[in-house]
Amino acid sequence: MYKNILLVDHESNLATALQFLLGHAGFNVTLAGTYAEAEAAVETMRPDLALIDANLPDRSGYDLCQALLARPGLQHLPVLMLTTRSLEVEREKALSLGATDFVVKPFDPAGMLVRVQELLREAA
């Protein structure tokens, strides 16, 4: 059975390329560009993993992370935060706010795919 991934990033080129990459690896990817779009998306799908950019145009990606984890049935959702900030404190912040892992852009797409697969395996 295909695993559902919610990908939330307003960088449309990156989101499209990641969607293709993850789709090619056998995942079912739902795209959202904003906090609001992500909230709307989870009304109709149940993600097995979320990839969330920390800087969304309408609200913080960390807010979205916490909102998703607060939903019934999503308390153990693996969340991988994507950020452009490389400070060490950003990692601490992400993990403190409920994210499972944290990746600084730019990242290696192949490595990212491996990390997604690992997180899904750990969650299972």
Binding site: N13, L18, F20, P106
Partner: protein, 690 residues
């Protein structure tokens, strides 16, 4: 043999007593047998009548003479005695006035003798003042307790937003206390013989937070506790700090802006490979377009980062506001005159530059004109064009060929060991230089050197008087101020005062009358500090009645743009600090202030002294106590009457003379002065009740 003659005063006194004795004798002889009570009454009436005559002719004139003699002896030798009507003192008042004249003459002679010494001391003082004035850094000298003893013009300019700045005020009221306290502790002599550092540097904000200052602090090494303390130099680093913070932020943003296109580029490359392997031509084209787009974004991001990186290089230079004309004057004075052409300079403009290196560049270019183009005279000018200032050298002769100028610019500057070239200095000012013909005059050539202008520069000479009094060396020699706890028992001469006056819309603050202006001046150790005045108009938030305007001259138009009363009261509170407040009929002004204090979030609980009450106390022989008459009595000139600052200054001069007279009434401390003042209030209240 000369006949014995009694002096007229004694003769009159004995005649009065004799007449009284004769009258009483006659009354006893004639009336006692008939009516003893009537005889006693007649005797008593006679005594009273004699007493009345003696008081009118001797007592009152004597008191007026005594008071006048006090004024003559202490403050105003030219004072005319206020002895009115007929009296029996003979020539005593005239003699006292003549004595005053003699005192004045002696004083003049003494002053003349002192003048020669003063001139020499003044010359030294002027030299020191000039040095202090010309030092580019602000300089503050404080006593061991942190009280400010001295500061120069630059310090005043740097701390212009601090109302508490003034001689005798504590440095902690002017600068953020923590960093300075910490630094002073570092400089304290250490136990065990380890030497403390001679000086230390700190960065701290001003009390208002308006500026960030880099300060260097050194303790004054002296065995005399009265002259111990510390000296500080101040430098404004607000702009550098702010620009450094902005630069860091821009750099961080520029780096972060590269991360998204890089990530997209990486991912799109990977997906392109996958699409090509799978034979998905349409997807491959799509991802190929994506790669071009992200490459373009990356290029733009790189350009932005590059610009920011360049600004880091140039911003790290210590660029300062430099007056170009002064810089050229410096070259003329210190440069090797034999190697330089005759220079005619017209450059009253400011540039943002590293002054020393720029002067080296200008000097080197001028020297090259002499040695290589045989130029003997150069007209040097500075002209503002937009944000740039064009430094132009103009001479009679040929232009400098581009190759030749390149050679000049690539040479090292001798005074910095040849390690820095002229071109590098120019590049770091974001500029270059070129030579061209002077199109307006045939046969002449130009060298043009654009420099960043300093448009925000304010000419200090416009805001500071030529010879301000705020660095008065005399105050350093005075006794140190006692701790505030001992204020009540401190001698009046040693205290700090703020003399103030309010102009208002009317006389009834409880019925809505408001302050329209506050003027004030400090008195520090007996000296009126004309350089430390306070004067602000206030917007009362209501029309000023025509009657009030006719008195103080302040109209609605004048206060239209003035800050609200609350703001002015708050600033005056900061200016006054913990000084003793002084006014002329101060109760009136205090009533206005105290009605405002709750809304302003301040409290005026300073001790107060009233020059009017003290005048009445000292000179009870007269009923003339208007500001003009008191000033006239004490030899004080009246200026700017009915302006808040003018009245404050007049009151301050009156007050300094009054405190010189108070010891004659055994009043030497603040508590004694306040007690005497309270007695006067009670006395006036009782007088009014009758």
């Amino acid at each position: 043999m000369r006949a014995f003659r009694l002096p007229r005063l004694r003769k009159r006194l004995w005649l009065t007593i004799g007449a009284l004795a004769a009258a009483e004798l006659i009354a006893i002889i004639l009336l006692v047998p008939l009516h003893p009570l009537l005889a006693a009454a007649a005797g008593a009436s006679g005594t009273l009548a004699a007493g009345f005559v003696i008081d009118r002719r001797i007592g009152r004139p004597l008191v007026a003479t005594e008071r006048g003699a006090g004024i003559i002896a202490t403050t105003n030798p030219g004072h005319r005695l206020e002895v009115r009507g007929r009296h029996w003192l003979g020539r005593l008042p005239e003699t006292v006035e003549q004595l005053g004249g003699a005192v004045a003459r002696s004083r003049r002679e003494l002053e003349e003798a002192a003048a020669a010494w003063t001139t020499r001391i003044e010359a030294r003082k002027a030299r020191l003042e000039t040095i202090l004035r010309e030092i580019r850094e602000g300089v503050l000298v404080c006593g061991p307790d942190g009280r400010i003893n001295l500061y120069n013009r630059t310090a005043r300019e740097l701390l212009s937003a601090e109302p508490a700045l003034g001689l005798g005020r504590n440095i902690n009221e002017v600068l953020n206390e923590g960093p300075l306290r910490h630094t002073l502790r570092l400089l304290e002599p250490r136990e065990g013989g380890t030497d403390a550092p001679a000086d230390a540097e700190l960065v701290c904000a001003t009390a208002s937070g308006e500026r960030l200052l880099r300060c260097r602090v050194a303790r004054l090494a002296t065995d005399d506790p009265d002259t111990a303390g510390f000296v500080m130099t101040l430098q404004d680093v607000s702009r550098q700090t702010r620009s450094a913070l902005r630069r860091e932020q821009r750099l961080r943003e520029a780096v972060e802006a590269l991360r998204n296109p890089l990530t997209s580029l990486n991912t799109a490359s990977e997906t392109l490979r996958l699409a090509q392997e799978a034979g998905l031509t349409e997807d491959a084209t799509r991802f190929s377009g994506m790669i071009s787009e992200e490459t373009h974004r990356l290029t733009e991001g790189f350009k932005a980062l590059s610009t920011e990186t360049m600004s880091v290089v140039t911003d790290n230079w210590r660029l300062e506001d430099v007056h170009l004309g002064s810089l050229v004057d410096g070259i003329k004075q210190t440069g090797d005159s034999a190697a330089l052409p005759r220079i005619q300079c017209r450059a009253d403009v400011w540039v943002s530059a590293e002054p020393y290196l720029l002067s080296q560049v200008v000097e080197a270019l001028l020297a090259r004109l002499v040695t290589e183009l045989d130029v003997s005279a150069v007209a040097l000018s500075g002209r503002e064009e937009g944000s740039l200032v064009y430094l132009e050298m103009n001479w009679s002769g040929d232009v400098i060929a581009p190759d030749q100028l390149d050679e000049w610019l690539d040479a090292g500057l001798e005074d910095v060991g040849g390690t820095v070239t002229l071109r590098e200095v120019l590049q770091r000012h974001d500029t270059t230089a070129w030579s061209q013909p002077d199109l307006s005059r045939t046969g002449r050539a130009l060298l043009r050197l654009p420099l960043p202008g300093a448009p925000e520069k304010v000419r200090t000479t416009e805001i500071v008087p030529a010879r301000p009094e705020f660095y008065d060396f005399a105050v350093e020699d005075s006794e140190p101020v006692r701790p505030l706890g001992a204020e009540a028992e401190a001698s009046l001469a040693s205290l700090d005062y703020v003399v103030f006056d309010c102009e208002t819309t009317g006389l009834a603050p409880s019925q809505g009358d408001e302050i329209v202006s506050i003027g004030a001046v400090r008195i520090h150790r007996g000296r009126v500090m004309h350089g430390e005045t306070f004067e602000l108009l206030a917007n009362p938030g209501r029309p000023i009645p025509a009657l009030a305007t006719s008195i103080h001259g302040i109209s609605d138009e004048d206060i239209a743009d003035a800050p609200p009363v609350e703001e002015v009261v708050r600033r005056f509170h900061a200016y006054a600090g913990d000084a003793v407040l002084v006014g002329f009929n101060i109760a009136f002004d205090m009533r206005f202030l105290r009605l405002k204090q709750r809304r302003c979030g301040v409290r005026f609980d300073n001790p107060t002294l009233d020059a009017l009450l003290l005048s009445i106390l000292l000179h009870d022989h007269t009923g003339e106590h208007t500001m003009e008459s008191v000033a006239d009595r004490l030899g004080v000139g009246v200026g700017g009457r009915h302006t808040a600052l003018g009245d404050s200054l007049t009151t301050a001069e009156i007050f300094t003379r009054l405190i010189e007279l108070l010891p004659g009434e055994s009043i030497t401390t603040l508590s004694e002065a306040i007690a005497a003042q309270e007695r006067m209030v009670e006395f006036r209240r009782q007088q009014r009740a009758f």
